[in-house]
Symmetry: C2
Subunit: 403 residues, 2 copies
C-alpha cells in the first residue's frame, strides 16, 4: 500500500467527505486496525485547519466482552462522556466514522438478541436529531482490512480490495475532490429530474421481477452530498451512487428477484425473491439464506414492508467492480436497490415533527429494521408512472434515460 | 508469549492493583500497541464483577500531530468528555493506566517546550485532588513492547523483557495476589519502623557519596499499597519496592554519585554526581547527559532542590534483574533513590489545605519538575540520624537492618 494512496484517500475524506473548515473540531471513530487511516485523517484534518482532532478507537474484543457481560440496562446506556463528546460533535463540527470489519466472525458466538439490543439509546436519539437538523458534517468511509478481503476473495488480498476501493472512491481522478463535486452535481440533477416528473410510482421489470412501488406525493429525491445548516457541503456516505426516496409502505405490488448476493451479518443470501401484496411481503424464496431474511422480516410489525427505493445506473463505480463487498456502504451503491424496514424520509418536509403513527399515516414506514438489497442491472428496466398513468423510461440497459 | 502469563498478569492487576469490587466501573487507558493486555484486563475486570469496562486507546501518532498543530490554548485544554469521564473515574471507581512506550523516539522532533506544556490542566488538577482524597483505586503497570525492549537490549527481545517484568511483578509466585499482600505488609512494617524512629535526617555514604538529607518532623513514611476512603486496598504502582518520604528542601548537604543509569526522555545520564549546599544543587557532573540534568534543574526556581527520598534494599525484584528499564515505574524501584523537584507529601497531615508557599514554609518542595535517580547499592550505607545526634543503621550491604 503506497503512502501516497492513503494520504490521497484521507485528503479526499477530509476535504470532500466532511469538508473541514478552519477552526472546526474533527472527530474520528475507527477500530484499532484502522490506525493507518486514522493517523492520515488526523494529519489531513490539521492540514485543513482543524482546531482539534479527537480520535476514539474501538476494539472488537472489548466490545465482545461488553456484549457478553454487562447487565441489560448497561447494554443500552449512554455514558456521560459519550454524550459530552457527541454534544460537541453535533455543535457544527465534523464526524468521520471508519467502516471495514477487521474480524467478520468475531461476534458470531454472541447472543444475537443482545447484539440487536446493544445500542446507546439516548446517544443514538441525539444523533438522529442532529442528522435531521443538519447540525454537523459527517461521513462514513471504509478502511480496507484483511478481514474484509478474506470475506470477499477467500484470501486476505488487501491490495486487491484497495484497488476496488480506490476506483469506487475516484482516487484515480487527477483531482478527486473536484471529481466528487462533479459527481454530486450529476446526482443532484437526477433528483431534480425525478422531482419534476412528480411520479406516482416506479416500476421495475426484468427476469423474475415485475414490481410496482407507490411513492408519497411531494417526497423529494435525495442524492449526492448534503449541506449542513451552516451551508457546508458534505458527503454522508463515501462512496455514494444512489438517488433515493421513501416509498409508500402500503403500495408495493408484484415480485422482485435480487440481482446481487446480499451479505447479512455472516449469512450470504443468494437469488432472493420476494412477492408483495398491498405493500406486504407475502412470500420469501432464496437459494441460500432465505431464513435469515424471514427472521429479519419478523422483527416487528412493519419490518416486512418497504422503506426505501434507490436508483443507480451502470455509471456506478461500485457496480463496475462486479464485487460483493459484504459492506452495505458499498453493496447498496452497486445498482438499484430497495430496502425492507424503516423509511429514510429526509425528503419530506416537516418530518421531524411527526410521531411514528403520523409518519405511517403519511405512508412512511417506521420499523427497527432496514435492509437494502440489490435489484437492478442491464436486464432490468425502470419506469416512472405518473398519476394519470403516463409511463416514462428512467433506466434502460443500465443507462439513465432522463435528459 | 503465553496467554497464561498474560492472563495471570491481567488478573493480578485487576485483583491486587485496583482490587475491583462488584458493581464498579473499570477504566483502562493504554496505547494501541497495548491491546493484548487491554483485552485481558477487560475480561478479568468483568470476571471480578465490573459493571462496565471503559477503554480509551491512545495513539502516539495522533498525539504527535496534536503536539505539532494545535494552538497554545488547546494544548492545555481539558475536553468536556475527558472531564465527564474523569468525574466518574474519581467517584469511587477503578482506573488502570498502562505504561510501556511503543516508539520511544516518536516525539524526538517535537518542540520540547510544547511537549512540556501539553497537559489538560483542569483534568490533572481534578486527578491530583482525587488522588489526595483517596477517592478511587488506581494503578500503573507496564505492557512490554518491542520499542522498550529495543531500548533496553538493543534488539526487540520482548520475551526477555517479559521475563524481567514477570519476575518484578511476582508472577512466578504460586499466588501472585497473596504475594503482593505479603509484600505490602513488609513495606508497611518498614514504614512503621521508620516512623517510630522519629528521624531528623538520613545519611548515605559510599563511593562518591556522602549525603545528609534533613527530614520534616512528623512526616510519615509511605510504601506498599494504599486504601481508598472506601477501605479498598490498591497498589498505585506496579511494581513498588520503595518506602519514601518528602525531605526538607532546605536541609540537604554533601555529595552524591548515582549508582545506575538514568533515562531522561531520550538521553541516558551516566555517572551523575551532584553536590548540595543548604539544600541547593551547586554542582552537576556526569560522564554523559549532564546538560539534560542541568536543563531540568533550571526549569524553575525550586527544581534544583530535593522533593523525595526513597529506601529500597537488595530484596527489590526490580533491582535483582540488574536492568535499566528506561521507565521510571521500574527504574526508581531498583534501589534507593532521591528526586530533585517537587515533593510527594502524602504523609503530611493537612497537606491538601496548604498553599504552595505554606508548603515550602513546612519544608515541602513545590516545583513543576520531579526526577528520580538511583543512589543505593551494596557499597552504600544508609543511616538514620535522630535529633539528639544518635545514629541508627538502616541499610548495610543492601540489607535492611531494622527489626
Amino acid at each position: 500500500m503506497s503512502d501516497t494512496r492513503l494520504e490521497r484517500y484521507a485528503e479526499l475524506i477530509v476535504r470532500a467527505g466532511v469538508n473541514v473548515q478552519p477552526g472546526q473540531t474533527v472527530f474520528v471513530d475507527g477500530q484499532l486496525e484502522h490506525a493507518p487511516l486514522v493517523r492520515a485523517l488526523t494529519r489531513a484534518a490539521y492540514g485543513a485547519g482543524a482546531r482539534l482532532v479527537d480520535v476514539r478507537y474501538g476494539d472488537g474484543h472489548v466490545r465482545k466482552a461488553f456484549l457478553q457481560n454487562v447487565a441489560d440496562d448497561v447494554l443500552q446506556e449512554s455514558t456521560p462522556w459519550l454524550l459530552a463528546r457527541f454534544d460537541v460533535v453535533f455543535d457544527g463540527n465534523c464526524y468521520i466514522a471508519i467502516a471495514g470489519e477487521p474480524e467478520p466472525d468475531l461476534l458470531s458466538d454472541v447472543d444475537p438478541e443482545r447484539l440487536g439490543r446493544a445500542r446507546p439509546v439516548e446517544a443514538v436519539k441525539r444523533q438522529l436529531k442532529a442528522v435531521n437538523d443538519r447540525a454537523f458534517s459527517w461521513t462514513i468511509a471504509v478502511y480496507p482490512t484483511e478481514g474484509q478481503a478474506r470475506e470477499m476473495f477467500g484470501e486476505p488480498d488487501v491490495e486487491r480490495l484497495w484497488d476496488a476501493v480506490s476506483y469506487a472512491m475516484r482516487l484515480d481522478e487527477p483531482d478527486p475532490v473536484a471529481a466528487w463535486h462533479a459527481h454530486h452535481e450529476r446526482l443532484r440533477r437526477r433528483c431534480t429530474q425525478l422531482d419534476e416528473l412528480e411520479l406516482d410510482a416506479l416500476r421495475f421489470a426484468g427476469p423474475g421481477t415485475d414490481l410496482t412501488i407507490g411513492l408519497i406525493p411531494g417526497s423529494r429525491w435525495i442524492g449526492g452530498g448534503s449541506e449542513t445548516r451552516d451551508g457546508i457541503l458534505a458527503f454522508p456516505n463515501m462512496p455514494t451512487e444512489e438517488v433515493f426516496n421513501t416509498p409508500d409502505w402500503r403500495r408495493t405490488e408484484g415480485t422482485v428477484r435480487s440481482t446481487r448476493p446480499l451479505a447479512l451479518g455472516g449469512t450470504v443470501v443468494r437469488d432472493l425473491e420476494l412477492r408483495f401484496e398491498s405493500g406486504l411481503v407475502v412470500d420469501v424464496q432464496a437459494s441460500t439464506g432465505a431464513d435469515a431474511v424471514r427472521g429479519q422480516l419478523a422483527v416487528d410489525e412493519y419490518a416486512n414492508r418497504l422503506g426505501e427505493v434507490a436508483l443507480v445506473d451502470g455509471t456506478s463505480r461500485v457496480g463496475e467492480t462486479g464485487l460483493t463487498f459484504f459492506d452495505t456502504l458499498y453493496d447498496e451503491n452497486a445498482t438499484c436497490h430497495i430496502a425492507y424496514g424503516t423509511g429514510v424520509p429526509f425528503g419530506i418536509d416537516g418530518i421531524e415533527e411527526l410521531s411514528p403513527d403520523e409518519q405511517r399515516e403519511r405512508g412512511i414506514n417506521v420499523s427497527a429494521m432496514h435492509t437494502d438489497f440489490m435489484i437492478g442491472g442491464p436486464e432490468v428496466a425502470v419506469d416512472g408512472i405518473k398519476a394519470d398513468g403516463t409511463t416514462i423510461a428512467i433506466i434502460r440497459e443500465d443507462t439513465w434515460q432522463l435528459t
